[in-house]
């Protein structure tokens, strides 16, 4: 009898443990799943609802149909903001990718003190965008920045006043954003380049290909997944960009550097037009989805093929 109880226990235990073991990942993931379901998708749903309501200062659930969207599209400032997102996003992504790739290729040439240089280029990413914005705002300010330094050095003809020129201010913001992000893109590409087998280079060199040609025809095309990751990361930085603009120009001169995120904040919170702000937020979500869905589609399809 004395050995009977361990037997029954061991007979009972494995199925229970097995069942627990099978459920454990789900159990552990459940809280985070519930939280993200509520705080991300729940709030997306709430915002969508608000954008169809008459909400002004505070949420209000009287049905307004699409009238908030109609008002949004009739607003000149919204179109300035949307156009700015296009200009800013396009130039920011393009320049950050090109500069990041070039830096990565140079760093990949087995140069000395590579570690130090890599760190220096990567450091801007460690700053918050608000710091980047404030610093660049000072540097580009004609009163006290670059222009006044050049003037005090005797180059009185030097003129760089993009930040106070309503047609150029958005490009000044691109400069700061590219400075911030290209080091990070460099790190992404560098990791990709390190993954390229040396044998590829040797084989191509045996065939008489020059180094630029090897990069252009073989290495860069093989970095396709890295390009995709960089694109997605940069694109969502561009669409979310808010702090950089707040710190650098606060949307000015006039509202010439407004972007959808600052537009949304202004209307929803400072002007008591919550419904219209929510409509603007939904339009931003659409822009993100327009990028993410094709990406997900290609990724998932790729997975099936692979």
């Amino acid at each position: 009898m004395s050995d009977a109880s361990p037997k029954t226990r061991s007979a009972l235990q494995p199925p229970l443990l097995d069942r627990l073991g099978a459920q454990l990942p789900k159990l552990v993931l459940a809280p985070t799943f519930a939280v993200s379901l509520f705080f991300v998708y729940g709030f997306i749903g709430w915002t969508a609802w608000l954008s169809l309501s008459k909400s002004r200062l505070l949420p209000n659930y009287d049905w307004a149909g699409l009238s908030q969207y109609v008002r949004l599209f009739e607003n000149h400032r919204w179109w300035v903001a949307a156009e700015n997102l296009f200009i800013f996003g396009g130039l920011f992504i393009a320049f950050a990718m090109v500069i990041g790739l070039i830096l990565a290729i140079f760093l990949d040439q087995r140069i000395r003190v590579e570690g130090a240089i890599r760190t220096i280029y990567l450091y801007p990413m460690a700053l918050s965008l608000i710091v980047t914005g404030v610093v660049w705002q000072w540097m580009l300010n004609p009163d006290l920045g670059l222009t006044s330094v050049m003037h005090s050095l005797g180059f009185s003809g030097f003129q760089f006043d993009w930040i106070i020129d309503r047609n150029m201010a958005i490009y000044a913001i691109v400069i700061a954003a590219v400075w911030q992000a290209s080091g990070f893109v460099m790190a992404l590409f560098l990791a990709g380049l390190r993954g390229v087998d040396d044998a590829v280079f040797k084989a191509a060199q045996v065939d008489g290909a020059s180094l630029p040609r090897i990069y252009w025809r073989i290495v860069i095309p093989s970095l396709r997944p890295v390009f995709f990751s960089a694109l997605i990361i940069l694109a969502h930085i561009a669409i979310k960009s808010f702090d950089l603009i707040k710190a650098m120009t606060n949307g000015g001169p006039g509202y010439s550097t407004d972007v959808p995120a600052t537009f949304m904040y202004t209307f929803a919170y400072t002007r008591g037009q919550l419904g219209m702000g929510a409509a603007a937020a939904m339009m931003m979500l659409m822009a993100v989805l327009a990028l993410i869905i094709p990406y997900l589609y290609s990724e998932l399809r790729g997975g099936r093929n692979g």
């Binding site: 505070l58 930040i163 106070i164 000015g252 509202y255 400072t270 008591g272």
Partner: protein, 424 residues
Amino acid sequence: MLRSKFKTAAIALTAAAGLVAGSSASAKGTVEVLHWWTSGGEAKAVSQLKKMLEEKGYHWKDFAVAGGGGESAMTALKSRVISGNPPGAAQIKGPAIQQWGDTGMLANLDPVANKQHWDKLLPPVVSKVMKYDGHYVAVPVNVHRVNWMWANPEVFKKAGAEIPTTWDEFVKAAKKIQDAGMIPVAHGGQAWQDATTFESVVLEVGGADLFRKAFVDLDPKALGGDQMVEAFRRLKVIKGFTDKDAPGRDWNLATAMVIKGKAGMQFMGDWAKGEFSNADMKPGKDYICKPFPGTAKDFTFNIDSFVMFKQSGANQDAQRAMAETIMEKKFQILFNKLKGSIPVRPDIDMSQFDTCAQESMDDFQAARENNTLVPSMAHGMATFPAMQGAIYDTVTNFYNSDQSPEQAAKELAKSVSQAEPSGI
């Protein structure tokens, strides 16, 4: 042994906490005050209120949210109200008080108002703002005048120009200063500063009549009319007298340009006075305060006020005591001397204020008589934030672009009508 010691300590702590809680409960109640007066003179001014209230035995719970225009404070307030836990008093001003009144959460201050005869003390145009549905829900703290011009007499002397009192004199004087190689008008290119200058220009062009029709009644004919076109044209004339580095500049940096003699004048409300006093300059001697050229008879007011949210028991007493204290002569004098504004009550001996404040008080009373007292559009006293925002956008877009004055006036009428009146 150790455990029992721990236990005693815990008991002692709990008892102490109970004592603290008990003592604050035995006081005459608490009022939690949301405000955004966190910088220099403003912070000093608001601490006077705290001191006076504590002298009366009430407890002051400070809920200060920094950020000049109060945007972050309003966001904080909204979340507190939505969660059903509003503070006792919040710094809210202008027609926004009506929007908060619609929530049905504001306290009735009529008992205090009747006791102190607010109806007699306040001009109707002001008391209307403080009332919701015929009952007082807010208490005014001070009166700022917005249509001021701050001038540096040194600069005018060097350029051989006179301090202007009309538009034509202004153009003449500004040209002289420009020819003498100085900046005639110090301006900060931010939307609210563009709007502050613009509303004074509108007042100059069409007087209190046009101002009211355009910014209070939002009459499309006034907003898009010939006089508005002229106002836009004159705004561009002023822009021609500013320096090209103005975009994005903060108002106090523009004031500093006048103080240092780099610029001749600035158009700004009387909060600019604090900057001059900090630089040890005397009004009338080192700097001149005059109404915006051509608006001497008019008075654009910007009144700060505290709105009270419904409370019960001892906290309601504390809230009412706060409202009462704010309207007392002693507080009005102390506070407004520090803040640079003038008292809201007419029965105060102004001899201890500086000459600018004295002139402001005289003009305030005269404007009250002559019906030329108008609420500032640029500072949220005239319309709901949505319409104010629409006006801001049009003005600042015109100021910073090559749009023609005719187009701008048309755009102004259109954008205001699209902004739709806000309920809640």
